[in-house]
């Protein structure tokens, strides 16, 4: 068959009715916080749209993002792969391997040149022509540049692909960089998180298919998912406002579900949907499970070294006590010297005064 199946046709081929297709659109629209009318618009667009080709490249990563994606519940990964997209290449999920898989990717790219979506997981090492990460004898750097050339848009999933993540953490031995540092001539949508929430990944893909490039924040993240801080939407926020904080992970405050700010929660400076969409079919999220937010969807979160330090404390280099001690000694030396100079001047003035003849 020459003609590509539309998304609706793909749904129907899987034995699903138009009604379930509309339901899928309604659920996805609500996930994207779109107004009710937009669900119908989404259904109309997706019904007529041929299933877009998606190429999923994995570089320096732990496959955690893929693991998360396979646990997507709305829409499910099966929905996504079998109905909404044509997954042409993914070295974790595909049956093909080796040269055959690479060849299939090239064919898919040629067929959908300029129209396919490239999803990238993992950071990319730049030095030595990308020699620190190779797949099928080709460096990650070369693969990305090659595949990105024909992509309509690139979705960088996970903090590694979005901001470098742990791969780019100090001392960054492989010189890893995020996708946006290498691809400048194509729209790059960052979907950070370690890993990102599955529904955020699938929702971003479906949103892009329906309405094109979503509104992004200054870190190129879809605003619909990264528009609010976790703190803003946290169910423990009221305890923060009341000044009720857990002091340790097993004290009365922790058992009462009080705010975890004192235990280093980074919710106030972390933009993500954890507190609203949650994980594992909306079961829970880290704060609900009793641990503060690590800020994993923000750049450089590994290097901050303050997972368990409150946000209002300093991030000291070395020992702050020693530094302040040295400063105090330096201050005392300058102050003492200033006082000595002043005393010397006083002595001189007194001597001059004493040497003056009386009455003058």
């Amino acid at each position: 068959m020459d003609r590509e199946l539309t998304i609706l046709e793909a749904f129907q081929q899987q034995g699903m009715s138009r009604r379930s297709f509309l339901k899928f659109c309604a659920v996805t629209a609500s996930l994207l916080a779109l107004p009710a009318g937009k669900a119908a618009e989404m259904a109309r667009i997706l019904a007529e749209m041929p299933r877009p080709t998606v190429i999923y490249l994995s570089f320096q990563e732990c496959t955690g993002c893929m693991e998360s994606l396979t646990r997507s519940f709305s829409p499910t990964i099966e929905h996504l792969i079998f109905n909404s997209i044509s997954l042409a290449y993914n070295d974790t999920l595909q049956a093909a391997a080796g040269a055959a898989a690479e060849a299939a990717r090239e064919v898919a790219m040629r067929k959908a040149w300029g129209k396919y979506i490239l999803v990238v997981e993992g950071a990319i090492p730049r030095p030595l022509d990308g020699a620190y990460c190779t797949v099928g004898g080709k460096s990650a750097l070369a693969s990305l540049q090659h595949v990105a050339e024909g992509a309509a848009a690139i979705i960088a999933v996970g903090t590694c692909a979005s901001f470098g993540g742990i791969q780019a953490a100090r001392p960054n031995p492989t010189g890893a960089v995020p996708v946006q540092d290498l691809v400048r001539d194509r729209p790059v949508i960052n979907v950070p998180g370690c890993p990102p929430i599955a529904a955020v990944m699938t929702g971003t893909i479906v949103s892009f298919l329906s309405f094109g490039l979503p509104e992004l924040d200054q870190r190129s993240r879809p605003k619909v998912f990264y528009g609010n801080t976790i703190h803003d939407r946290c169910y423990r926020r009221s305890f923060y406002d009341k000044g009720l904080f857990a002091k340790t992970f097993d004290d009365e405050g922790a058992r009462n579900g009080w705010c975890l700010y004192e235990l280093g929660c980074k919710g106030p400076v972390t933009y993500n949907s954890c507190a609203t969409i949650k994980w594992n079919q909306g079961t829970s999220f880290p704060i609900e499970s009793g641990h503060g937010c690590l800020g994993c969807s923000e750049p450089n979160f590994w290097d901050r070294g303050d997972f368990y330090k409150p946000l209002s404390t300093g991030m000291w280099r070395g020992n702050i006590g020693v530094d302040l001690g040295v400063a105090a000694v330096a201050g005392a030396a300058i102050g003492g010297a200033a006082a000595l100079v002043a005393r010397h001047r006083q002595n001189k003035a007194n001597a001059t005064e004493a040497s003056k003849p009386e009455g003058k």
Partner: protein, 217 residues
């Protein structure tokens, strides 16, 4: 390095070091000065009592001058108490102090601190208006007064913006807030803001001198 990391890291660390060095420098520079010898016979031996008495009496408005100075003094008390409540009552600030000194105490509900912050900021604005409108005060004021006012109100104002998420993203506002505190810390020892440390020392010294001379305070 993003703004917040810079503010919480090197900026705050250097500001604290300058603050400590500057404060010790100024205090020792003053305390180690030679005092003028006083050959008169003391009329009173309770100089410490005199020092403490003057600290209290000079902190309270004299009834004779109340009509003229009462309003200004009230404003002064409001913003000074406000600043104390904000600095020592807001939990994130207590955590900062704890991380440096190990000392901590229970904090106030955030809502109360926000209200106090707003009152303090408004009072500081009123104080500036009074300074500008009063010809005598205006004549007596110099750059130190105006800049000290600015570095005092900026942390209050940026702190309020940060908690209310007004004007920019929270992490940017928090970074600016911490940087404004850094400016305050650097400026404090070398300006009139040094009265934080010198106020009671200078009043106590005057009180002790008055007590020695037998002057009424």
């Amino acid at each position: 390095m993003d703004l917040l990391t810079f503010a919480r890291g090197p900026a705050l660390q250097w500001a604290l070091m300058i603050f400590v060095a500057g404060t010790v420098w100024r205090l020792l520079g003053i305390l180690l000065l030679r005092r003028k010898p006083d050959y008169t016979e003391p009329r009173n031996t309770g100089t410490w009592r005199g020092a403490l008495k003057l600290i209290v009496t000079r902190s309270w408005p004299k009834r004779e001058f109340w009509a003229r100075t009462g309003f200004d003094q009230t404003l002064g008390y409001i913003f000074h108490f406000g600043l104390a409540i904000i600095i020592f009552g807001f939990v994130p600030h207590i955590l900062f102090i704890k991380s440096l000194t190990g000392l901590s105490w229970p904090g106030l509900p955030s809502g109360i601190v926000y209200v106090v912050g707003a009152i303090t900021a408004a009072t500081l604005v009123a104080v500036l208006v009074r300074r500008i409108n009063n010809p005598v005060k205006r004549l007596l004021s110099n750059f130190d007064d105006y800049f000290s006012w600015l570095v005092t109100i900026t942390p209050v104002f940026t702190g309020l913006l940060a908690v209310e998420h007004l004007g920019a993203r929270y992490e940017v506002l928090l970074g600016i807030h911490i940087l404004s505190v850094c400016v305050l810390l650097v400026w404090l020892p070398f300006s009139k803001l040094m009265h934080v440390f010198l106020l009671f020392i200078s009043r106590g010294t005057t009180g002790a001198l008055f007590a020695r001379k037998g002057a009424s305070t």
